[in-house]
């Protein structure tokens, strides 16, 4: 498993401000400029960020918790990975506002008034929290897919056992060698095998495996 690589340099990134008033934007823009981050859009009181155009590797949204961001259609879907990292700007430190930011997907916070000394930490936490979340989501998705595929694996093992009179370990080994040869996952291979239900094909496969076993 590869270790998650943390982002440490934000040069070339683009910031999108969704702020209640312009107050925080000057300090934030100055601090971001030092870090090589350009402010791409600033919207006050309305969220005019165009979601489909956001790219997680380039954009960062600074979302003010005091803005009413319960838009229709919703700007961010509660509990879902947002299209780009979100750093919450906290004015009213009340549970309802913080909950709103968490639901929007914020992975870091900056307290109002924004203090320049906290901006790098917020970027670092916000971006890397987002990357970790994205990494976990993709790993969970991959596992779910494999879990769904286990049914086909069991079926394929039974097929090979039934057709060739081998035990389950041998049947599994046969399938494993075949999927590696075909360069697909075991689950995908078994799914296509079971899907075709071509008994002949399974027989051929086992015969060729037996030949290669004898040849060793």
């Amino acid at each position: 498993m590869n270790a998650l690589r943390l982002q440490q340099n934000f040069r070339g990134s683009r910031a999108h401000f969704v702020l209640q008033d312009a107050g925080a934007s000057d300090v934030l823009a100055t601090a971001l400029k030092r870090l090589g981050v350009e402010v791409a859009t600033t919207s006050v009181q309305t969220a005019t960020v165009s979601l489909p155009e956001l790219a997680a590797d380039r954009d960062i949204v600074f979302l003010d918790g005091d803005v009413d961001f319960s838009f229709d259609p919703p700007l961010f879907r509660a509990g879902h990975l947002p299209p780009a990292p979100i750093i919450g700007i906290v004015g009213m430190e009340a549970p309802s506002r913080l909950k709103g930011l968490i639901h929007a997907g914020a992975t870091a916070f900056l307290r109002k008034p924004v203090h320049t000394g906290s901006v790098y930490s917020a970027l670092f936490m916000g971006m890397n929290g987002y990357l970790r979340w994205r990494d976990l989501e993709s790993r969970i998705a991959a596992r779910d897919q494999r879990r769904r595929g286990r049914r086909s694996v069991v079926k394929a093992i039974l097929l090979v056992m039934d057709q060739n009179g081998v035990d389950d370990d041998e049947a599994y080994a046969v399938l494993r060698r075949a999927c590696m040869k075909a360069r697909v996952s075991l689950e995908d291979y078994c799914e296509s095998l079971v899907g075709t239900t071509q008994v002949e094909r399974i027989r051929r496969l086992t015969a060729s495996a037996a030949r290669s076993g004898r040849a060793k």
Partner: protein
């Protein structure tokens, strides 16, 4: 019209584990301050208010608070980053300015600090490039256990990894530690291309002596075979190391007393005449001298010691310093400085072996050079499975 008089805090640990460097910094400050007071054209008079925190962080906090509560708005001082981080909240609270005159590890740009020492792109990066080219890619890191060492080692490790090199080991010891025997055994056994040293003060001087002696005992020509490279080693520290182990050490610095220029000759002469008892000139003393000169220029053009006009005046300000032209970057309030690499000689001075052709823009967050993502040590792509 009589020049306006301002009180300036000078916060240097002239006692404690890094007193030698701090004393040379205080000397640099006093030299600049006295020059300003003697020049009618300077247009200001500076009255020093001194404090010695003895290298204790809590004392830095106490003395800084006292100075600021007393109405002082500008303090020149601090050497270690831990002491600087300790006092910055007070400067922010009182909206005062700290003039921080030492090389440091970067990743900071407080609105209440002017940084006249070297940023990491002006010390560790040129040193790493030089070490890779001249000595190899296998480093052994030894440092005092605080942010200066951690962060420099991280930058070194990332640069080495990007060049297919490695950090064999990183060892940290408490500030002031002097027992190095087990560590030196490990270094000699590991045979790195070089040792990267971020020890400070007395720990560093002990390390240089013990390491040289241990190598000699084993027939290793230390300076040539396992050189020690530092970003903080200065002339007064070479004198502390002593004659048996003083030569052959590499140091990356924006100032060496051996710089051949008229401005430096004047500086050295004035410093020697004023402080015949020493300690010898150091890069941090020059950075402190620069800080006080820039402060007096900014106070004159601002016409007051209020923070906003002084901050405005210092952004873009430039002087001809002993190292060459030095100016302040408006965005980060760090200095454009000229990186150099020196090798120490038997006279406790540095022979300059490499010099940047022009002042280098400060990049405290390394946005121009750091890889976007952190690098992780490469493991072999193939592994034995049965």
């Amino acid at each position: 019209m009589a020049p306006k008089c301002y009180r300036v805090g000078l916060l240097f640990s002239t006692s404690g584990p890094y007193s030698v460097v701090a004393q040379s910094m205080l000397n640099g400050a006093l030299l600049a301050l006295e020059q300003v007071n003697a020049e009618p054209e300077a247009g200001v008079r500076l009255e020093p208010v001194m404090g010695d925190p003895g290298g204790v962080n809590a004392e830095y906090a106490r003395l800084a608070r006292e100075m600021l509560n007393d109405g002082i708005r500008h303090v020149v001082g601090c050497y270690t980053s831990s002491s600087r981080k300790e006092v910055i909240p007070f400067f922010e609270k009182h909206d005062a300015l700290l003039w921080y005159p030492s090389h440091y590890e970067g990743f900071e740009a407080s609105a209440n600090v002017v940084y006249t020492g070297a940023a990491p792109n002006q010390h560790i990066l040129p040193l790493t490039r030089y070490l890779i080219e001249e000595y190899g890619k296998h480093a052994f890191c030894v440092g005092s256990n605080y942010i200066w060492a951690w962060e420099n080692n991280r930058i070194l490790r990332e640069t080495l990894l990007a060049n297919d090199g490695e950090v064999i080991a990183e060892r940290y010891l408490p500030v002031g530690e002097t027992d190095f025997d087990p560590l030196i055994e490990k270094i000699v056994d590991a045979r790195p291309s070089f040792v990267f040293n971020t020890l400070i003060g007395t720990s560093a001087y002990h390390f240089f002596r013990t390491f040289r002696a241990a190598c000699e005992k084993r027939g290793i020509e230390q300076a040539r075979e396992i050189p020690v490279a530092s970003c903080s080693l200065s002339e007064p520290e070479l004198e502390e190391i002593g004659p048996d182990a003083v030569d052959g050490h590499l140091s990356s610095s924006v100032y060496f007393s051996t710089i051949d220029s008229a401005a430096n000759a004047r500086f050295i002469e004035a410093y020697r005449a004023r402080f015949p008892a020493g300690p010898t000139m150091s890069a941090d003393a020059e950075a402190t001298f620069i800080a006080v000169r820039l402060l007096s220029d900014a106070l004159r053009s601002a016409g007051s010691d209020a923070i906003d006009p002084v901050r405005e005046a210092v952004g873009g300000a430039a002087i001809t310093a002993p190292q060459g032209r030095v100016s302040i970057d408006r965005d980060s309030r760090h200095a454009y400085l000229t990186p150099r690499i020196g090798r120490s000689n038997g006279r406790a001075r540095f022979d300059i072996i490499l010099e940047s052709s022009r002042p280098v823009r400060p990049d405290p967050y390394l946005i121009e050079s750091a890889p976007r993502y952190t690098l992780v040590a490469r493991r072999p792509n193939l592994r034995i499975v049965s």
